[in-house]
Every structure is written in C-alpha cells, then in structure tokens.
Symmetry: C2
Subunit: 563 residues, 2 copies
C-alpha cells in the first residue's frame, strides 16, 4: 500500500524524483568507475578503495542513503543492490575490447552487404577484424576433423544410416564412421535425451582408457565427470571447495580469469602466486610457499592450488620435476590440486607430464603413504588441442583421492543442471578414442590432426620471430597452448596518456591497436601481472601473417608517437 500511495504523487513531483535519482545514480557510477580502476592496480580480490574525490560520497554510502531514503525504488534490482560478488567478478577475455571488436565486425559486415557496398558512416581504417583475443580455432577458419563431424551428422539424423551405400558413395563416409555412430547411438539412445548427470557411462569408460594409455596407470570411470567444457568443471569444483569467505585457493598469476572470476562470485579468496617469467613462466615453489604462508598468517583457510599446464595465458609447459614439486607441496599442506590440463596436446617443446602420472609416480616411489590421500582434479576439454570444438561445450574432469561423501555432493551439485550437452559428450569420446592405425578413417584423421598441429607451431614461431624484433617487446620461445604472452615496455608518455584516458597502459595499447588495425588482443591486466610489468596475450590461431604485419606496423607508430 505504501508503494501504491507513493506512485500516485503528482506527475511533476515524480519527474523531479526520477531526475534526482538518475543524478545520484550517475554520480555513484562515476565514483565507482574510479574506484574500480584504482582497485585494479592491486589485481587481487581486495576490498575496493574509493578514490579521494569520492571519499565523502562513496558508492556504498550513496547506496545506503538511497535505500534509507523515503523515495520509492523504481525496480527490484539496481547496480547497488544485486549480488555484490557477481559485481566484483572481472572477466576481461569477453569484456569491453571483445564487445568493441564485435561491433566493428558487424559494422564491416553491414557495409559489405549493401549493394553496391557503401562505405560505413565513419569508415574504419581496416577491412577485417582479427579476433586474436579468444582461443576459438573454428571461428578463425580451423577446419573441424572430418571423422568427428561425420559421426556427429549421423548422431543428429540417424535415418542417414538407413542408406549406408549412399553415405559411402556420395559422401565418402568410411565404415568406421558408420560403426562408431551406431555404437554411440546405442549408448546414448538419442543425443536429444538427457544422459546421466555424470555423463554417459561408456563414454566415461573411454576417457578412463585414454588416461590409462597416456599415463600408464589405472583410471576409474566412476571418478570421471563429463562437463560442459572445462569451465563448468572448474565452476563445480570451486563451488564445492568454497566453504566460507575465509576459504582460499592458490591461483597462478598471470592466469585464465575464469578462476579469479568464479572465486569472486563465490566470495572466496584468491591467493595469488606469481609464475616465474625469467624461467619461461614456470611455477616456483619458493614463491608458492611464500604466498601460502602469507595467506595462512592472514587467517585464510587455503584449500586448493590451481595449476594451468600448459599455461594460459603464458604458454609455459611444466617439467616433470615442477609437477612433482607442486604435488609434494600439496601433499604436505593437504591441498586439492586443480590441474587445468586443457592444452595437454598443445605442446611444442618437451613433453606433457600429467599431474595424475606425477602423483602415481610419487605414490609408487614412496613407502610411507604420505601421498596416498592427495586430492587431484584434472580437467580436460574438447575446445582446445587439435579438436577445437569450443561451440559444442564438452569436457571432463577426473577425481583422484577424493572422499566418497564429497564426491556424492559433487554429483548432487552437477545433477541440478541435469547433464552436459550430449553431442559434446560424444565429441569427448571421439577425442579420447580417435581412429587408430589401420582404421579406414585413420589416414585422413592423422593428416588433419598433424596439419592443425603443424599450422599452430608455424604461426607460433612466425609471431615469436616478429615480436622478438619489436622495440621494447620481450618473450621466450613458444612452448605450448595457443598463446604468446610477451612483455611490453611502453614509453613514459604512453603511460601518461593512458592515465589521462583512465586506462591501464596495456589496456590503452590494446584499445589503440584494435581501433587502428582491427586486431583484438587481451591486455595483461585481464590475467594479472606483476606490478610495474605490462603484457598482452595473443592467440596464434588466425591464418596468414598479414595481421602480424599490422601489429608490427602499429607498434612502430605507437612507439614513435609516444617516444
């Protein structure tokens, strides 16, 4: 009734009220924006420090005032009363730069679709947007693997199997494609039906076999959970781990921001540990221990350590020794190891050592049993590797050493979202169980797989060579994953110009690059970096080298402009 009465005041009063509220909102936003920018310089989930200019009217005070005022709220939800932890989350990979690049793409597409093509209102200084910001291979022209997609076509429309002859003669489907589709259909019934929440049992069995072949150690399908990409697995695990605002998780810096964003939403604490850029971005046990001890001293209940291997955004590939030292540390301190191993086949230098193998090796070499209860969650995905099927949202995680009751809670949690996409599950099956030597589809599969791998390597080195020659740019040799993460040293004038524009220097640089060349990168700020250092991340997925030239030219001009 109170709200009803307030709604029937005179139109003029209402209009003034509305304007006052809007002004208050805008002031609050401006102060908040300043606070966020300043806050970003600390890079961690610390409480926001309102700027001096806003200290007498900080956002929280404003919102308190508003809530306490007698004026009616217009809506249930506004920026000051929604979940504050959602607000705190930062996820730059799909942030402002990515949105702007999509707008440019749409603008170019619209202009091109005119007949005759007309120049857009404000013509752009480039004719193509290069999305080097996201590891999205098929958006950049990577062809899906034929075997996978032929099988999927049959799963989507099983009546195709009624005419195998036509599939063979008109479309070149081989017998193993047909057999695999029939077998998968038997197992899933229909790709349009929900599966078990944990994933189709026989697909989990295939995953277990893959892990056994990879590591030489047994794997149990009962402890494998299929997921909608690795992201959803990370979300599940962090939800279960985050018991209170004092729960901490060791996260590498720089990191893929899924981790810091999810922990922010869950109101848990990021315990950052820096990777060692001077040694090819590897983990440094001293640094990890220091970060852990510091967090413990602050009363943080550290429960897990995240390792991304091969690294994102760094591209680093960990040695077996580095893997073993992280496991030893986790065993000593009773920490869950979350091994993000989605780039396990994207390796250029050395070999991949899985945390599962590292753990079993240690367990085998030790008679005291001190590694027996190490908890390891190892994640994999169909989005990366040579598969690159991001849009199908498939992945899995394997749990080792987890308490049975905790696993039951993990099962319940994932069951609330019913099941991962079934087509994604089928792609997981084919990724871990591709055609073998002697199978009819093997030759083509092998050619496609190696072609993609070789292409990635070539472009990684082409970028590396180009970056090495750029003034003020430093980077190590490519090791793995899909990214390079060079350091950039920018002139003082550029840093001042960035400050003036209310931007971090690397963000300023990347925005300029996008505006001038259409190439979209992610500034180091988006992943975290040591204070005083600047980086950007680029994928090496986009075909050709013309866009690399665009970056080189832009960089030269930028450095000259601010010299």
């Amino acid at each position: 009734m109170t709200a009803m009465t307030a709604m029937t005041t005179t139109p003029l009063a209402s209009s003034l009220l509305l304007r006052a509220q809007r002004f208050s909102l805008e002031l609050s936003r401006a102060c908040q924006a300043i606070a966020i920018v300043r806050q970003q310089s600390t890079q961690h989930n610390t409480a926001s420090q309102p700027s001096a200019a806003c200290s007498h009217s900080s956002p929280s005070k404003l919102s308190q005032k508003r809530n306490m005022s007698s004026s009616p709220r217009l809506r249930s939800l506004n920026i000051d009363n929604i979940n504050p932890h959602v607000k705190e989350a930062k996820y730059a990979v799909r942030g402002e730069l990515a949105i702007k690049s999509e707008e440019y793409r749409a603008q170019l597409k619209k202009a091109a679709s005119q007949d005759p093509p007309t120049p857009p209102d404000s013509p752009l200084p480039f004719d193509k947007v290069i999305s080097a910001n996201i590891g999205n291979p098929q958006q950049l022209g990577q062809k899906p693997i034929t075997f996978f997609r032929q099988v999927l076509s049959l799963l989507e429309y099983p009546p195709l199997l009624d005419n195998e002859e036509a599939l063979r003669t008109s479309f070149g489907y081989k017998q193993d494609v047909i057999d695999r589709a029939k077998w998968l259909l038997e197992e899933v019934n229909s790709v349009g039906a929900y599966s078990q929440s944990q994933g189709v049992p026989t697909i989990r069995q295939s995953v277990a076999h893959y892990i056994e072949r990879r590591d030489g150690y047994a794997s149990d399908p009962a402890h494998i959970y299929l997921s909608a990409g690795a992201s959803s697995g990370v979300n599940t695990l962090l939800n279960v781990i985050s018991a209170s605002p004092k729960t901490g998780v060791l996260v590498p810096i720089p990191q893929y921001p899924l981790y810091t964003a999810t922990l922010a939403v869950l109101n848990a604490r990021v315990v950052p540990y820096y990777l060692d850029e001077s040694r090819g971005w590897t983990t440094d046990l001293g640094t990890i221990k220091e970060a852990y001890q510091k967090a413990k001293a602050e009363g943080i209940d550290v429960r897990a350590i995240v390792v991304i291997n091969p690294g994102n955004p760094t591209g680093a590939s960990l040695s077996a020794d580095d893997v073993a030292s992280v496991i030893k540390f986790a065993a000593e301190e009773k920490l869950v190891i979350m091994a993000d191993e989605v780039y396990q086949t994207n390796i250029f230098l050395g070999t991949f050592t899985s945390f599962k193998k590292g753990l079993r090796d240690l367990q085998n070499s030790d008679s005291t049993g001190k590694y027996d209860n190490v908890e390891l969650a190892s994640l994999n995905s169909i989005s990366k590797g040579m598969v690159g099927e991001c849009g199908h949202r498939g992945g899995y995680f394997e749990l080792v050493g987890f308490d049975a009751e905790v696993q039951a809670q993990i099962y319940k949690f994932i069951s609330i979202m019913l099941c991962p996409p079934v087509v994604g599950q089928c792609l997981v099956e084919m990724m871990v169980n591709p055609p073998k030597e002697g199978d009819p589809s093997y030759e083509l599969y092998n050619k496609e797989y190696n072609g993609i791998k070789e292409g990635l390597r070539e472009r990684a080195y082409a970028l590396y060579e180009a970056f090495k020659k750029m003034e003020g740019v430093e980077l190590g040799e490519p090791q793995g994953s899909m990214y390079l993460f060079p350091t950039i040293h920018l002139p003082t004038k550029a840093i001042e110009a960035a400050e003036k524009a209310d931007r971090k220097p690397d963000e300023f640089y990347c925005l300029r690059l996008l505006d001038r060349t259409g190439v979209c990168l992610v500034p180091g700020t988006g992943f975290g970096q040591k204070p005083g250092t600047l980086h950007f991340r680029t994928t090496f997925l986009a075909p050709g080298t013309e866009w690399v030239g665009r970056i080189v030219d832009f960089h030269r001009e930028f450095m000259a402009e601010y010299a």
Copy 2:
C-alpha cells in the same frame, strides 16, 4: 613441517588414528542423516535441527572437535568442511530413486547381453525400467522432429551440402532444410566455434520475432539471452538477485526443485507460497501476500517471485486473470517476476497466457505508469514442448524492464562460462521459426508435431482415468506440461512402516513401486507439499499403457498389504 612430522608416526598409530577418524565420520553421518530426514518434514531452507539422540554430538559439534583436534586431517575436503550451502541443496529428481532405477536398468541390460541370456544374481520382478521420473521425451522413445535433425546433420558436417542432389534423392532432404542449414552456417560460421556469450545475434532476432507473434507486442533481441537449457538461465538470474543471506525469493510449493536447490547453494532464502490444489493448483494471491508479509516481518528482503506456468510438477495452466494478479502484486511490491514458461506449448485445457503479454496488456490499460518498471524474466527451453531436445541443452530468457547496469552484470556473469552450446542455439532458432505452411518440410513437420502433442494428451488422459479409479488417489483433469501430480492417501500402517524405514511415506511408496515394478516416479517430498499431504509426480511420456497397469496393480497390493 607439522604435517610431515605427523605423517611419520608409526604405522600402528596411523592405523588406529585412521580407524578413530572413520568411526567419528560414520557417527557424524548417521546423526546428519537423521537430522536431514527430520528437517525434510519442514520442507524449507530452515536451519537443521539435530535429533535429540545426537544433540550432544551433532555434526557441527563433531566437525568442530575434529578441526580443533591435534590429529592431522587426511584430506583437504571432507563432508564437514566443504561448502555447507552445496550440502544443504536438495535435488530429488536425480536423487536416490533415479540412481537406483539406473542400476536396475544396467542390471537388466547386463543379463540380456549374456549369450544365452542368463538371469541376474538376484532376479528382478520386472524386465524393463520405466523412467517416469524425468521429463526426458527422447529417452522414452519420442522421435525427434525430422526438419530439426536434418538441418543439424548439415550443420555438423557441412560438406554434405556439396552434393545437394544426393541429399534430396538418397535421403529425402527438402530444399528448406538445405536453405536453413546454409543460412545458419553463415550466421554461426561453425557450430564448433564459440558464439557471443549472449547467443548468436540473428538467433536472438528469431526469438524476438517468435515472441512478437505469440504476444502481439514488440520484443528486442538485445534483451534476449540464449542459455544452456532454462536451468542455466535460472541459475544466472538467481546468482544476480541473491545479494545476501537475507535475500528472499517467493517460490511456489510444490515446485521444480531447481529453484530451492539453487537458492540453497546461493545461501538465499526460499519464501514458499502454496499453490491451491483445490482449484487445480492455481496461484492464490491471498496465500502469496501472506507468505510475502510473513517473510518481510522476519526481516527477509524479498526481491523476486517465481511462477511456473504451465506448472511443474502440478501441470496447472494459469488463466489470464491469475497471470495479471501476480503482475499487479509484483508491481506493488517491486518484485522481479521469474516466469518459467518452458511448457508454454504443452497445454491441453484453455490457452497459454505469457507473462510478457499479461504485463504489456496491463501497461496498455493503465495511464499512471505504475507497471512501467516491472521487471520480468521469462524463460523457455528446447527440452520441453513438442521439441523435447533435452540432451542438446538449449533455451533462452527474455528480460523486460531490467536496469541497464544490471543487464551488464548479467552479461558479464554469463560470459565467464563463454557461451551456450551452439547446436542448442540452432535448435532454439528452429523451435521458434519452424517450417511454415507452403514450405516443403511443412507437411511432415506439422504431422510430427501434432502426433507428439496428441500422444501426450492421450497418455495424460489414460493415466488420469487409471489414477481416478485407484483407492485413495485424487487428482484433477490434465491441463498442461508433462506431468500428473496426484494426491495419495496412504493407510496408517504404511505411514508407520515408512517411519520405521526412516523414509517419508511418499518416498517409501515410490521406492516400493520401483523395487516391485521398475516404474520410477518422484515422491511429492521432492517438490514440497503441504504438511500432512502426500503426492507423487509422473510424466506421461512413456509409450504404451502396460506400465500404467503395473502402477495400478502395485497400488492395489500396497493398499491391501497395509490396510
């Protein structure tokens, strides 16, 4: 170092320690199980009341003791130190009964695959499991719609389009199938590429057109968010709304437990309002207001109201008047309306009134502007209706009246999970934009669509007629969705037997039914029900009527046994 020292105690001491810890754990589990069973009788997210028997050693006290003890923890995670809110969540649809039914199914399959088929170790009194517990049409033999799946086969393997002639002659693909696939491929590039986090722009455009045709009011694709099924949309919205442990959301009881489970995980408050069984499970404004006022008096900050229309598990279809009164109430109290409209085409009685149409009608009829800022989130899915593509995980929600800054936070939140499955997005497009009269695929589409609709209606009425005749069973005529939710009156002896078995009576009944007949239902407990009433939910998706006979026979025997 402390942990290391502790780990090197003698093997005997370690073994004793381990046993003591296991015993403590089991005691804790037992007490917790009792507490949960007792707690379930209140049905809401209230704090658990440990049973008298355990009050001197309740789980929380035990866990405190353990954490305070000098003995080392075996692992990082145990049932007492993981996220307590995950633990509190209940999700019966995929709980114990569902798991048991899957075990029976596997047992039958194993026995049948022996050559010659051998009876299992403990032969089951049925030869087939009927999953009437989950709305999973294609698992129960519902055929996917041909047009949809033909298009998907082309999206999965675009080289099929290189031989259109063979597609037509060997497989009967029509021109509109080929055209749709080509258009979608142009829009998504590859179904293996990530799309925009909000969903492919032109697919959101198609959704907007559908909503416009359905309601006769404009819809803006900028306010449409594609999602991985409706569940993921609900999860997003509740994450943003749940600002603190005092945040409350009005949820109908009985309800689909996604809502209570998600609010439990988010540590927000369920504000239950009972649906009116005496009037076909419709919403009752008096009851809603009472629930709201009571919550407000308790200091709960109620921010949203959930309405499921047509209802799950109730099957109720709301009248336009009922829809309007909920909107009026939400406008008065400034509540977000979350309209779960995933069964919008599953209507047998009357017509469907969307909340969007209800809101626009009210806004049009009112000159004071009191409905102008009503916030509505309306959800839809490809899993239900006549589409039934659950495994593809597709859906969308439309936001109306939301603050722009809040929408920006929703965008950021969904971007952390990258994008909904792209094949699911394409299915959304085809669901909202199916073949039209005159299109080559129209006749078949129409026949399939109506065949599914008619089949659902027939089975709904067959079940209804059978249930009506059962002793102690009451239910109203089927109205919509995929479920019947009859009341069951069980004899006192059955209720006592249930108590003895530490089960709720309806759970006891459904477990018995599963063990004896292989038919899996969900007890009313899983959805919430008025204290003292008992129900079960059954889908009417399983083909044939033989299984209905199994329920009727079981019921007769059960009633006789406990008479």
